[in-house]
Amino acid sequence: MNHTSPAQAIRVWLFLVAATLCSGWLGEHHGFAGRWTAVAVMFVAALKGRAVILYFMELKGAPRGWRVAFELWVWLLPALIVALWAMSGGA
Amino acid sequence: MNAAVSNTSYFKYWRACAAMGPIFLAAFILCWGVLGYNIPPIPADFTAEQMAQHFRTHANEVRAGMAGAMLFGILYLPWTLSITKVMEKIETDGNHIMSILQMWGGGVTVVPLVTSSVFWLAGSYRPEALDPVILQLLYDMGWLLIDMFYAITTVAMVALGVCGLADKREKALFPRWMCWYTIWAGLSFLFELLMPFFKSGMFARQGWLNFWVEFIVWFAYILLTTYYVFKAIPRLEQERAAELSLVEQTGKLGAKPLQGNPEGRLANA
C-alpha cells in the first residue's frame, strides 16, 4: 500500500481538527448560516470522513473496489441525511 | 495419520454432513417459517384476540410446520460437524480449542431451534380450549427463546472466524473476508439484546433489523460456510493424498510432518 507519511498524517489531523471546530461553532451559532447549517455541517462530515478513509485507513492505495465502496458510504450517507432533513421541512 | 485408511473412506461422510446445511435451511424456512407463520413473525403489538384467531384458524399448518421444524432443526448438528472437521485441519496445535468450541456452539444451537418450536406447537395443539392471553404468551415465548439464545450461535461463528484467520496456508481454506464476515455476523446478533424492550419498530421481533437483517445475515452465513466447506474438502483430500504417497515412498510412517494431523504424531510414537 501507498503509505501515508507522518507529516501527511499530521496535516490531515490538523484539517480534521479545524473542520470539527468549524462545524461545532456553526452548530452552536445557527444564526450565522441559518437554514444552511445542517447542509454545511453534513458536508464537512463527509469531507472529514473522506480524509479518514483515504489517509488514515490508507484506502488511497487500496484496490479500487474497496476505495469505491468506502467513498460511496462517506458521500451517500451525509447526502441521504441532508435529503431527509430537507424533505422534512429543512428544520 | 493412519496410512491404512484410504482417502475415500477417510472423507466418506464429510460432504454428506456439509450438504445438511442447505437442506436444513430450506426445510426450516418452509416448516418453521412458512407453515409455522414465522416469516414474517406475527407482530408483537397484535392483541391477544388476534393471536388466538391465528392459532385457531391455522392450527393444522402450525402443527405440521413445527413437527417438521423439530425434525429438520436437528440437521444443523451434522452440518456443524462438517465445519469442525475442516477446522481441525487448520488448528495444527492438536488442541482444537476453536474447532471444539465451534462444534459445541453449533450443536447446542439445535436446542433453541427445536425447543422454541414446542411453544408454537403447544399453541396450535388445543387452541379452542386455551385463553387468548395464554396463546399470546406461547407465541411470545417461542420468539423470545429463539431470538434471545443467539449467543450460543455467536460462539460457533466467532470460533470459526478466529480459527480461519489463523490458517497458515498460502491460500487459506476459509478466505479471510469470509472469516471476518462470520465474526461480524455473530456479533451483530447482539442487537437482539434490545428485542425484549420493544413491541414495534426495528428492534421488535418483526422489526426490519432484528428480524429481516439478522435472519438474512444468519442464512447467508449458512450458505457461505457450506460453499467454502465444499471447496475445502477436495483440497484436504489432495493434501492427504500427497502425505499418503510420501509415506509409500519413504516406507515409513510420519517421515514428513503431516499438516494438521495429530494422528501423525501417534503413528510416529
Binding site: V12, T20, G49, F56, M57 | K168, R169, E170, W184, V213
Partner: protein, 197 residues
C-alpha cells in the same frame, strides 16, 4: 516428526493489499448507515420533538469526543508507520498514547450518560432518545472493543517483531479503530447539530 512444511507454506504470509477486516468494517458501517437513515425517517415524522430533545445534548462534550477520537486515530496511524519500519518501541509508545487519549472518550461518554440518567432520561423516554442511546450505545460497545484491541496489541508487541506476522494484526486493529472514528464523524453532527438550538 522431522521438519518440512508440505501443505503448510510460509508462516505469516505478508499482509495482502486489502486486509480481510475491510469486510467486517463495510458490513458494520452499512448497518450503521441503515440506522442513520432510520433515524432520519423517524425524525421527519416528529421534527419538533427531535429538535427539542437534541438541543438538550451537550455539543461541547460531543465536540471534545470528536477531537479525542481523531487524535487517538492519528497516534494509531503513527504506530502502524513505525511498525512497518520495525521500530517496536516507537510502535508501542504510539499504541499507548492512542489508548490513553482514547480513554478520554469513554470517560466523557460516561459523564454524558450519567447526566442523562440523572435527569430521568433513558432508552424509552421518546423516539429521539431511543435512537440516541442505541446509536451511541452500539458505537460505545465498538469503542470498548477497540480499546481492548489496542491494549492487546500493546501487550503482544512487547517481545515480538512488529514487522513480522504481527504486522497484519496491528494494521487490522488500526483499521478497526479508524472505523470507530469514522462512525462518530457522522453520528455526532446528525444527533447533536442538525436542528436549530
Amino acid at each position: 516428526m522431522t521438519d518440512g512444511s508440505q501443505g503448510a507454506p510460509a508462516q505469516g504470509a505478508p499482509s495482502v493489499s486489502a486486509p480481510g477486516i475491510l469486510t467486517f468494517i463495510i458490513a458494520d458501517v452499512t448497518i450503521f448507515g441503515v440506522l442513520f437513515v432510520a433515524f432520519m425517517v423517524e425524525r421527519s415524522h416528529q421534527v419538533p420533538l427531535f429538535n427539542q430533545s437534541s438541543s438538550s445534548l451537550d455539543v461541547r462534550l460531543g465536540l471534545l469526543n470528536t477531537l479525542v477520537l481523531m487524535t487517538s486515530g492519528l497516534f494509531v496511524v503513527l504506530a502502524v508507520l513505525a511498525a512497518g519500519q520495525g521500530r517496536a518501541s516507537v510502535t508501542r509508545q504510539w499504541l499507548l498514547a492512542s489508548f490513553v487519549v482514547g480513554a478520554g472518550f469513554g470517560i466523557n461518554k460516561l459523564i454524558e450518560y450519567g447526566d442523562k440518567f440523572a435527569h430521568g432520561i433513558n432508552l424509552l423516554t421518546n423516539d429521539f432518545f431511543m435512537f440516541y442511546f442505541v446509536l451511541t450505545g452500539v458505537h460505545f460497545v465498538h469503542f470498548l472493543a477497540g480499546m481492548v484491541v489496542l491494549a492487546l496489541l500493546w501487550f503482544r508487541t512487547r517481545g515480538e517483531a512488529v514487522d513480522g506476522p504481527l504486522f497484519g494484526w496491528i494494521e487490522s486493529g488500526a483499521l478497526y479503530w479508524h472505523m470507530v472514528d469514522l462512525l462518530w464523524i457522522v453520528i455526532f453532527p446528525m444527533l447533536y447539530l442538525l436542528g436549530s438550538r
